[in-house]
Amino acid sequence: MIVLAMAIFPLIYSLSISFMHYRLIPPMPPRFNGLDNYAKILGQARFWSVIYTTSVIVIFSVFLQYVIGFAVATALNAKIRGSSVFRVLLLMPMLIAPVAVALIARMILNPVIGPLDQFLTMFGFPDLPFLSNKNWAMGSLIAVEVWQWTPFVILLMLAGLQTLPRDVYEAATLENASKWRQFWDITFPMLLPISVAIIFIRIIESFKIMDTVFVMTGGGPGIATETLTLFAYQEGFKKFNLGYTSALSFLFLIFIIVIGVIFLAIVKPYVEKRS
């Protein structure tokens, strides 16, 4: 009961705040204003832009994390010399705090003195606007997300790969199925359930992206790379508009639930087919 109360209380508390006009600055007594906060958010173009930005980052970065992670895991699973060293090295990015990753990335991507820029100008490229052009900035954010979280996919996919029985592949080898076919006919379907779980976790985690964006672009240029959590942060801790921010958080929660449910509904038939 206590545990349940502890889990539920903050939610109920913030839900109740979301129905109020509640500002810390100027300090005015909170008053109930019904669904006004929600209506205001949904009518705001910035909210939809933020949803769009976040979704683009999530879809591209999770997709790339999964594809690259699966490929690397498959390579590591093969018995190659020194694979245990690679395993440890490849997991390193995941162990670094996202803020630190973002700081490193910001330095590397510095459009004038960053090492990546210097490397590229060596080949005659102009100084590239890694963080100051909308599309480049999105690309950079996605790249950093992929760099940091692909190891998570590698780790779990590798664990999945190692549970697969060897004789099944031998049977397929005797049927003259190529490695490529074996991957699509055996490995991929057998790892589908774990893949769904990994992608699901990554989608939910990625929607909460905050520190990377905060440090690298601060949501800019303009609000071009502003994500949901960053938007909520701006409203809550820059404008101290708590009622509005709570409502925003709840819309955010609903949005993630909707995305999660849609994702699970799409993959369900495929997963059920195999079990």
């Binding site: 099944v168 080898t173 005797l174 003259n176 199925a177 079990s275």
Partner: protein, 359 residues
């Protein structure tokens, strides 16, 4: 026509030599069983025939084809694995038809072949099920079904029955034998169970430490084992061995055990083996309550095992472990002495040093 010719085939993992070099000719349509204790190299040999294991030396020929370095998928063999190796995410029908799908056979043809295989193996009711919803015996049948739809040149079986219970194993044994008669394909079958080997094979190849000890039809193997290892491996319960020497005395030759027990030998039998250390081998079924050669030894009884059709008595004769097979209803108390009649016409003699049979 697919005979298999294995020429001086060897296998080593680094410095560890698993198979020093074997030669084996398997005729077209022959059912050959490789049998031996664990680690004797039988499975490695099978996997080299399949192409799943690289060859360290020597050659493998299928008929006129040298397949030594040919990719496993191009050898047209199919294999039934010990753990079935079914694709867990596919239905029974998909499992059986997968090989044809890989070879891009049109779907109606696959369906037809799958249905035919299912009919032969009594799997028609299970075609839409997944392996995990099948019993061990049914899974084994699916694995066999997957092997037969391919219409392979050679069937390979790797201890296929070892995960089944005793009753099912006996059933599957006769089913596989019937399948061989029906399909008329060369079969190489690996097992550690000598009963399986004896009951199914046209020819049994007994292996030990990577060498072929003897390769003969089951009855020859039983009646004329080439050496002590084969004699003790084939037959259950195992053959009894008494160590000693043969001395020529008045009234013919005698076998004298190291403990000084003397057994008179029939006239002219093994007389030329006199003087060197030998081992006398007697199967339990030839040590019983009476015998045509009227040879009697005294056995110290340690335990009695009534099996129904007959009763086994375990104990020692001249200090060596000995098992006798007595008629049902025979009763001895542990600690008693029993008079055992040995049929020396059916006994075997081996050289004590080389362990080879002396005929």
């Amino acid at each position: 026509m697919t005979n298999i010719s294995i020429r001086n085939l060897s296998k080593s993992y680094g410095d560890v030599v698993v198979i020093p070099g074997i030669n084996l000719e398997i005729r077209d349509k022959e059912f050959v069983v490789l049998v031996g204790p664990s680690g004797c190299g039988k499975t490695t040999t099978l996997r080299m025939i399949a192409g799943l294991e690289e060859v360290s030396g020597g050659e493998i020929w299928f008929g006129e084809r040298d397949v030594t370095n040919l990719r496993a998928g191009l050898r047209n063999t199919s294999m039934v694995f010990q753990n079935y190796a079914l694709y867990p995410h596919m239905t029974v029908a998909q499992n059986i038809g997968y090989g044809m799908k890989v070879r891009k056979v049109p779907k109606p043809e696959i369906d037809k072949a799958v249905r035919k295989a299912a009919q032969i193996l009594d799997l028609e009711a299970y075609l839409e099920r997944r392996p995990k919803n099948l019993s061990g015996g049914q899974r084994q049948r699916v694995a066999i079904g997957r092997a037969i739809v391919r219409d392979p040149d050679i069937f390979l079986f790797d201890e296929p029955l070892s995960n089944l219970d005793a009753k099912l194993r006996i059933e599957m044994r006769s089913e596989i034998k019937a399948l061989h008669r029906r399909l008329q394909t060369t079969i190489v079958y690996v097992t550690h169970d000598q009963v399986e080997a004896m009951t199914m094979a046209d020819r049994v190849v007994v292996m030990r430490d990577g060498n072929i000890e003897q390769s003969d039809d089951p009855i020859t193997l039983y009646e004329k084992p080439a050496n002590i290892f084969v004699a003790s491996f084939i037959g259950a319960p195992s053959m009894n061995f008494l160590e000693g020497t043969i001395t020529s005395g008045e009234g013919g030759a005698q076998f004298q055990t190291t403990d000084g027990v003397t057994i008179a030998l029939p006239a002219n039998k093994w007389a030329d083996a006199a003087g060197r250390p030998v081992v006398l081998g007697i199967r339990p079924e030839h040590a019983t309550e009476s015998s045509p050669t009227k040879t009697v030894v005294t056995m110290l009884v340690k335990s009695v095992e009534p099996l129904g059709p007959h009763t086994l008595i375990n104990g020692t004769v001249a200090g060596a472990k000995f098992t006798a097979q007595m008629p049902a209803g025979t009763s001895f108390e542990p600690g008693e002495s029993a008079e055992i009649h040995i049929n020396l016409d059916k006994a075997h003699l081996f050289d004590g040093a080389s362990e080879l049979a002396i005929r």
